[in-house]
């Protein structure tokens, strides 16, 4: 029943409401957990940029640092959006 719900393009109204509710809850928590892991990954990227910019010193390194922080902020923002809209 669950698989049919995933693969079929029929609207949600054709799925029994209790299954629909369970499926949505499952997807919601999958997305949130995935996003938490992604935020952690974005944090590791920042740390790695810090280490590598000490290894290789270039004029572009400060820009990379900013990119790392922007990426982390974006990930955190999306996590907040997930919490608010799901």
């Amino acid at each position: 029943m669950l698989w049919q719900a995933v693969v079929s393009s029929t609207p949600s109204s054709s799925i029994p409401p209790e299954v629909n509710q369970f499926l949505l809850m499952f997807i919601k928590w999958c997305l949130i957990v995935l996003m938490i892991f992604y935020v952690a990954f974005a944090g590791v990227v920042i740390r790695q940029i810090q280490i590598m910019r000490q290894t290789l010193v270039t004029t572009f390194s400060p820009i990379l640092k900013i990119l790392g922080f922007v990426h982390f902020a974006l990930a955190f923002l999306v996590l907040l959006v997930f919490f608010s809209i799901l």
Binding site: A5, V6, V7, S8, S9, T10, P11, S12, I15, N20, L23, L24, I27, K28, L31, L34, M35, Y38, F41, A42, V44, V45, Q48, I49, I51, M52, Q54, T55, L56, V57, T58, T59, F60, S61, L64, L67, G68, H71, L74, A75, V78, V81, F82, I85, L86
Partner: protein, 225 residues
């Protein structure tokens, strides 16, 4: 009465710094390859001769970078195309509407997550390319491997430990864009260095050979300042 010999106090000997006969020659003095290259300050280039405002963590005082290499950008096409393809996948599959059973807010969340992951993939791939560098200084060759986000490896070998260099160019793209792999056999702890997919491999090999010759000349003529 004979004069008593009075010894004069020894004149104070000034410490004179012994200057060596030969001073260290600049790279342009002995390298025909580098003589033709202009100093570069572009940090995003893949062939950076005599880089300016660049350095590395284990650089010793007086050691100057002669050449900094990255993989040729053509070799980065794979991840660029993957990212491009991934970014159009939602557009391709939107007519099928395989997420039709999901409410609009879930679809929005999926799209946001998908595009964020593409951004992360591009950033990580770029970082790998940017920090995976091969450095040739007037003293050493250095291979900085930035394999993944949790693994990095920095290997170095002195120029006088280099035994053999080989440039290999294989494949259609490599021939077309003139990039290849330079393999360096050394007598150092790490026996082999591989500069993968670097631009102008023949030029790199020639430069290393010139550096070896200069190192030998220095040994014969005495250590230079």
């Amino acid at each position: 009465m004979p004069d008593i010999f009075v010894a004069h106090p020894e004149p104070k000997t000034e410490k004179v710094r012994v200057k060596h006969k030969h001073r260290r020659r600049g790279i342009d003095d002995y390298s025909t390859v580098m003589r033709l290259e202009k100093p570069s300050s572009n940090p995003l280039s893949w062939f950076v001769p005599k880089p300016q405002r660049m350095g590395f963590s284990t650089q010793s005082a007086g050691e100057s970078i002669i050449l900094l290499l990255r993989q040729h950008p053509v070799t980065q096409i794979r991840w660029s195309l993957t990212a491009l393809l991934a970014s159009v996948i939602p557009l391709i599959f939107s007519p099928i509407d395989f997420m039709g059973f999901l409410p609009a807010n879930y679809k929005l969340a999926l799209y946001l997550g998908w595009y964020l992951m593409i951004i992360g993939f591009v950033l990580e791939s770029f970082l790998k390319w940017f920090f995976n560098v091969y450095i040739i200084t007037d003293e050493r060759i250095i291979d900085v491997d930035f394999m993944s986000l949790i693994y990095k490896n920095i290997s170095a070998a002195k120029i006088d430990k280099i035994e053999d260099t080989t440039a290999t160019t294989g494949g259609f793209l490599a021939s077309l864009f003139n990039y290849g792999t330079v393999t360096i056999q050394t007598a150092a702890e790490r026996r082999e260095f591989e500069f993968s997919n670097v631009p102008l491999p023949n030029k790199v090999t020639k430069l290393i050979n010139e550096l070896i010759l200069e190192e030998e000349r220095e040994k014969i003529e005495g250590r230079v300042i």
